[in-house]
Amino acid sequence: MALSREEVLHVAELARLSLRPAEIEIFTRQLNDILAYVEKLQELDTTGVAPLAHVIPICNAFREDEVREGLSLDLALENAPAREDDNFLVPRVI
């Protein structure tokens, strides 16, 4: 399951990361090393083993349908990198 350079670039884009040209080769190599290592897991026969999703078996952690005070407008927007009026401002999609 070795990753090609193209696949690495595709994964980077999926993750919204860009790789500097110098990094592409290094990252490709390092990722492939790690992937080769984790290939180890395929040695194990896990037929019928239920995936462990939650270490402690809890279910039905609910809250009641009550309105709670949230953040004030100022606190909500305080850390916004860009804002206009009372909205978060972002560059246009296209």
Binding site: E7, R16, L17, K40, H54, V55, I56, I58, E78, F88
Partner: protein, 486 residues
């Protein structure tokens, strides 16, 4: 009182405060002074809240004056910069949160405040808790107080160094694959990772949600129990926090461990284990035996798959948890011609290399067609690893083993190859995968004077037992009394 105030533990300081022999403002001021003088040599702190700490100290003093002392009134702590503190910058040692001021407190922080603790500041760490050496911080590495050319361990390196160097009385860190226990071991302090779900994760900036836990790093075992008492317990804001009531973790301290069965996992001895580490551990086992414990050999057959499992499951969750850092709502934003470019520039410039590496790995393993082979497979192997422990704990009460295959290494020594770094997590990682508690206590030193820790693992919700055994070991030795030449 001959020892400087800053060198005291919680257990030593609390009674002095309670009796009015020492004022909280004095302790906090002394620590702030020491931090100012010495932090530059270690880079343990990222943010020091001088004004806030003194104000909290004054409040503590007033409380004590009214006779309203709580369990931590006036005790100054450092918090790993991975848990949010309202109004106080929280960076996760990342550029992407360089100026993030959280509008809320983590639940554990709220509980500490309620118990009167003073928060001195935020401690350095590996960026987003991804690392084992605190070299992945965007704000420079932390240095090991025992030898400044060495790493303090990671990812809670700042917390461990601060405790070891008496730059705080105690600290909280977080542990996803060993990030409390390993730096505790490398810095010669106590570090406890609770059972998964024992302590609320609300306000803990998520790395790997099914593995992360907050825990104490302290100068002595009793302190860890005291802090655990404050932070443990169900939190309705964290769906994964367990409803089981927390115990009083100081209660069992001092009880004998006669007849305690301690399992020694055969797979943990031989895996590139440094001979000095092995020697220290074996000596520790002898001490435990001398205290009445029965040592028996146990097997954890899936040990060799633990690191691989972790680096599949943890990175997948991490890749998703870190998707929120997009420059839209908070944090760093790099400009771009359009939205896509803004995302790319922000995240590429805002995240360090190790974080980007793990995000990519996680994104890949979750991507179309690979989920079964990686995340699902990893989750299945995780079940096998947990079952290993369940079986072992049928034959013993606790497991004793090393924390790290080697003592701390030099700064920069292992940066070239990430995989080598990952493999050094071998002894701590399984506990996170199985969700069981673990503690590291100082048990020796390498010939170079670097600390070595003994790890005790317990079954789920076995914190009281491992604290009891750790305490017994600690009290029978004096490793915990040694301080770095700092």
């Amino acid at each position: 009182m001959t020892e400087p105030l800053y060198s005291l533990s919680i257990s030593q300081l609390a009674p002095l405060l309670a009796r009015g022999e020492v004022s909280p403002v004095e302790v906090t001021a002394r620590l702030l002074e020491r931090i100012k003088e010495r932090n530059g040599e270690l880079n343990a702190y990222l943010t020091v809240d001088e004004a806030g700490a003194l104000e909290q100290a004054r409040e503590a003093e007033a409380c004590l004056g009214r006779g309203e002392a709580a369990s931590l009134t006036g005790i100054p702590l450092a918090l790993k910069d991975v848990m949010v503190t309202r109004g106080l910058r929280t960076t996760c040692a990342s550029k992407i949160l360089e100026n993030f001021i959280p509008p809320f407190d983590a639940t554990v922080v709220a509980r500490l405040r309620r118990e009167g603790a003073v928060i001195l500041g935020k401690a350095n760490m590996d960026e987003f808790a991804m690392g084992s050496s605190t070299e992945n911080s965007a704000y420079g590495p932390t240095h090991n107080p025992w030898n400044r050319e060495y790493i303090p361990g990671g990812s809670s390196g700042g917390s461990a160094a601060a405790v070891a160097a008496d730059l705080c009385i105690a600290s909280l860190g977080s542990d996803t694959g060993g990030s409390i226990r390993q730096p505790a071991s490398h810095c010669g302090v106590v570090g406890l990772k609770p059972t998964y779900g024992r302590v609320s994760r609300y306000g803990l900036v998520a790395y790997a949600s099914s593995l992360d836990q907050i825990g104490p790093l302290t100068k002595e075992v009793r302190d860890a129990a005291i802090l655990l008492n404050t932070i443990a317990g169900h939190d309705p804001k964290d769906s994964t926090s367990v409803p089981q009531a927390a115990a009083d973790y100081t209660e069992a301290l001092g009880r004998e461990i006669h007849g305690l069965k301690i399992g020694v996992p055969r797979e943990y001895f031989g895996h590139g284990l440094d001979p000095e580490v092995e020697a220290a551990i074996r000596a520790a086992l002898k001490t435990l035996a001398g205290l009445g414990a029965d040592l028996i050999e146990v097997s954890l057959p899936h040990t060799e798959y633990a690191v691989a499992t972790y680096y599949v499951v943890a990175v997948a969750e991490a890749s998703s948890n870190l998707a929120r850092y997009d420059g839209v709502k908070y944090g760093f934003r790099a400009e771009g011609k359009n939205l896509m470019e803004t995302y790319l520039n922000t995240r590429t410039q805002g995240f360090g290399a190790e974080v980007r590496r793990r995000i990519m790995l996680g994104t890949y393993t979750l991507s179309a067609g690979y989920y079964d082979a990686y995340y699902k497979k990893g989750s299945q192997v995780r079940a096998l690893i947990r079952s290993d422990f369940e079986t072992a704990f049928k034959a013993c009460h606790l497991i004793a083993c090393p924390v790290s295959p080697t003592p701390a290494f030099r700064l920069g020594e292992k940066l070239a190859d990430p995989l080598t770094m990952y493999l050094s997590d071998i002894f701590t990682i399984s506990a996170n995968l199985a969700g069981i508690p673990g503690i590291s206590v100082p048990c020796g030193f390498s010939s170079q004077g670097l600390p070595i820790g003994l790890q005790l693992l317990g079954p789920a919700f076995g914190e009281a037992e491992i604290l009891q055994a750790a305490y017994a070991f600690e009290q029978a030795t004096d490793f915990h009394r040694r301080k770095p030449p700092f």
